[in-house]
């Protein structure tokens, strides 16, 4: 099954490239011009056409002039609805918005900014990617943020990829759609292990609990640049008062009190993903405990620190571990 699924994905991607000229993420804004809007009848449209055919045959058989009139009026309306469906997408532009990192298993919420430059409402639009969909409408001249939630199943960088904006407005007989690839990725952290063992304490592996609420502020170790999420208690106010930059005082706790979460310290029987899960759970626990922690991976290491920025950076290392996109500073 996975093999066939993979083959079908490959075939579909090739077809996409061929038919819809999709491939690498496109530069924003992606404007939906007439060349990239496609139109086909929906199943309801096919049923409608069949019904019209039956009605036409009845009209011919019974020589019903008004029957012809009714059939042709409905057919004409259906043809006009093609243009209306096309017009409902024409001129919209799509820009990637933000996408907050999530833990694997949660929904990645992709935000796209859709801009309707025309002074008419764009009703009944649907955005689809990865088999998920969200329905919305754009008001006249409105620029709207549309959130598309997709479940995640693997850690790493999760691109929104092939995205479809479609509408079956007005009559549901014609589907107009456009395929594009916005430059939007979601960072998926490994799912933290559900019931992890207690945090290792320093290199010795002693358990370090909550008792050390002294927050390791014993020895002043130096200054570093302020990061979002740092506690105001550690801001070097004196430096700031002198007109200097906003700095954070760093303290070194007692030797061995830093939590070092090391890849190599984990039992060799664990596989990579399990290790990442445990490390993620430990990172969260360490951050909650309030003591500085460092992360050591075979490919990278993060020096000891605390705060949301530290946590996010560490989780990012875990998320991207072993992937091609493995470099810091992403997200």
């Amino acid at each position: 099954m996975p093999a066939t699924a993979k083959t079908s994905t490959v075939v579909r991607n090739a077809l996409d490239r061929l038919l819809f000229r999709t491939g690498a993420p496109e530069a924003a804004p992606i404007r939906l011009g007439q060349r990239r809007i496609y139109l086909l009848p929906t199943p309801a449209g096919v049923a409608f056409a069949l019904a019209l055919l039956v009605m036409l045959i009845a009209s011919i058989n019974y020589n019903l002039s008004l029957g012809y009139g009714l059939v042709f009026l409905l057919a004409g309306t259906a043809v006009a609805s093609i243009v209306h469906a096309f017009r409902n997408l024409l001129g919209l532009s799509v820009r990637p918005g933000r996408c907050d990192p999530v833990f694997c298993g949660d929904d990645a919420v992709f935000h796209l900014v859709l801009d309707n430059p025309r002074g008419v409402r764009r009703p009944a639009l649907t955005l689809r990617a990865h088999g998920c969909r969200t329905a919305f409408a754009l008001g006249a001249g409105e620029q709207g943020d549309v959130a598309l939630a997709c479940p995640t199943s693997r850690r790493g960088s999760f691109a929104i990829g092939r995205t479809i904006l479609e509408t079956t407005w007005p009559l549901g007989l014609i589907r107009a759609w456009s395929v594009f690839v916005p430059d939007l990725r979601c960072l998926v952290y490994p799912a933290p292990e559900a019931d992890p063992p207690p945090l290792p304490s320093g290199q010795t592996g002693n358990i370090r609990g909550e008792q050390s609420s002294g927050e390791g502020d014993d020895d002043f170790a130096g200054l570093r640049a302020h990061q979002r999420g740092d506690s105001p208690r550690h801001v070097a106010w004196k430096v700031l008062a002198r007109g200097g930059p906003m700095l954070i005082k760093q303290f070194a706790g007692h030797g061995g009190d830093d939590v070092v979460l090391a890849w190599t310290a984990l039992p060799p029987s664990m596989d990579d993903e399990a290790r990442l899960s445990r490390l993620a759970a430990w990172l969260l626990a360490a951050e909650r405990s309030g003591c500085p922690y460092a992360l050591r991976l075979p490919t990278a290491s993060q020096p000891a620190g605390r705060g949301e920025a530290q946590l996010r950076r560490c989780l990012q290392w875990l998320a991207l571990f072993g992937t091609a996109a493995e470099h810091p500073g992403h997200g």
């Binding site: 049923a47 009209s59 011919i60 009026l73 002074g119």
Partner: protein
Amino acid sequence: MADALARLWGEFAAKRWRTRIRAMSPIGTLGRDQGLWLVAAATASLAPHVAQLPGWLSALCGLLLGWRALLLWQRQPPPARPVILLLAIAAGVSVWTEFGHLLGKDPGVAMLAVLLGLKLLEIRAARDIRAAVLLCFFLQLAVFFEDQSLGVAALALCGTLLSVVTLLALGDPAAGNLERLRTGVILLAHGIPFMLALFLLFPRVQGPLWGLPTDAFSARTGLSESMSPGSISDLGQSAEIALRAAFAGPLPAPAQRYWRGPVLTEFDGKSWRASRFDEASTPFYTPAGPHLDYNLTVEAHNRRWVLALDFPGANPGSLRYASDYQLRSMQPLSVRTRFDLRSYPETAVGLSETDVVLAAARRLPESFNPRSRALASRLAADATSDEAILQRVVAHLRDSRLTYTLRPPPLGRESVDDFLFETRHGFCEHFASAFTFLMRATGVPARVVTGYQGGEINPVDGNLVVRQADAHAWAEVWLASRGWTRVDPTALSAPRRIEDGLAAALPDGELLPLFLRPELSWLRHLRFRWEAVSNAWNQRVLGYNPDRQREFLSGLGLARTDWSMLAGLLSGVMLALFASLLIWTGWRRRSRDPLERSWALFSAKLARRRLARRDWEGPLDYGDRISAALPQHADGLRDIAASYARLRYGNGTSVAEARALARKISELEIS
């Protein structure tokens, strides 16, 4: 900070164990608005059928619709499926017992109506709504089996609009009802040019494609192939139109307006019946004398007679000529049909009539009407010729002062005796019957001819309109020197019947049908207008058939048309219409502000170098960025950005400066 993290962790932990519920798209549930639109569409589709459907079925459909509307209004769920299934089975069985079968037009329409009512009750998903809308369309089409008048067309258009709005409401639950209605009207308006093109150019085929069910056409009022006292005076009450004629030249004199229907030769003492006659593709006479050109539109009567004016000349079409001078069509006229005809009123017919026909025209049943027989022999005594007998019979009838009335008293077994000697009140069939009987009793061949006489000129469009009330019976006698000669015995007692029509001929005090009363002239005038419009509708719209289509195309200069050419023309027109709709689509109001337009052009030019302005970028920042990227143009670019910023945000803008900037931007070339 700890709070934020706790929340992060808490959210994660909570989500992990919760079943993920993806937001359902709103399509598929029947909201109150959508449901009520659907009920309205169903009502508009069912309403015109009420007259045709059995009463219990109309009531059932009304109940089902009302029930659904009530449930929707109270936001209640639809009834359970088994209930609907039971209802469906019960309704199917009832329809079967009502009609005795399920195949055919009437039970078909009845089943459609029930299905629509039940489908409405059952609706749960979007697909059900679409199916119900399709049923509405079928029912709208089915109305046209019975009636294709303007009013019905307007009603069907309303039904179509409501159905389209239902589909709109389904696709866009967020829109307001007024907006939906507006969009629906726009959609239909856009559909109308396509409809016109298809209506005019779609290759027309004359139906039926295969045999129609036996109940395809219901019984119609009109003449029949037999005549007994009272059969025509029944028609005298009906204002229904029987035929219309548009004459190319002057109208025929009232005395020439005899529209020939069935000729009745066999008499059994009570009623007159048609005898056998031959048919040929050419007339049984040689048309001669002046002629009248007209086109005749005969309403459907499900019989083959065409009701031409006496006597139609040879016609290249597929018409048949009977040996009793009727013009007949190949098929029963089950739909309103138009014929282009030429008649020669002064043609002499039947100069060399066969003995068989003449013998039949002399035959009388033995044991009827002894007093009339006695009268006939008295009149025929010592007459030298058939002409002399004719004159004596005519003179006798004229002098008898018989009364012409729409309500003749009933006659007994000796119908002619009773009329001539007892009641002395009769309608045209009494006169024709008595006269023909007398002639036969004297030995002169005679027969009854039925048809229509007269007609009313509609002052609005100048057409001659002949109604069922103009149904008439007259007589023909055969004279050796003149062949079959028309004699109208009614005219002897009521001469104004021929010249001025029924209303003038009836004695004062006789209660006239409403439509003939002179004091309601405004009503008559209104009716003339309406009938002229209906006639135009009938001729132009309902009468558009393969022949009319050929005429229309040759009017366009396309003399010889075949299918492929028609298909080509049709696709060409459709494509042109589609293209014009697309142009309307692409048409956008351009920015009114010239400065804005120049600035957009500037960004567009730089976009070629992937340096389009970002939405959040102010003009000066943008100038800096592009100058850095394109150092060879740095001065020019920064200058443009700065002057735009000055013009846009500074005080006192000058038109000259704006124009200079526009020129600078349009002349800008980035190598």
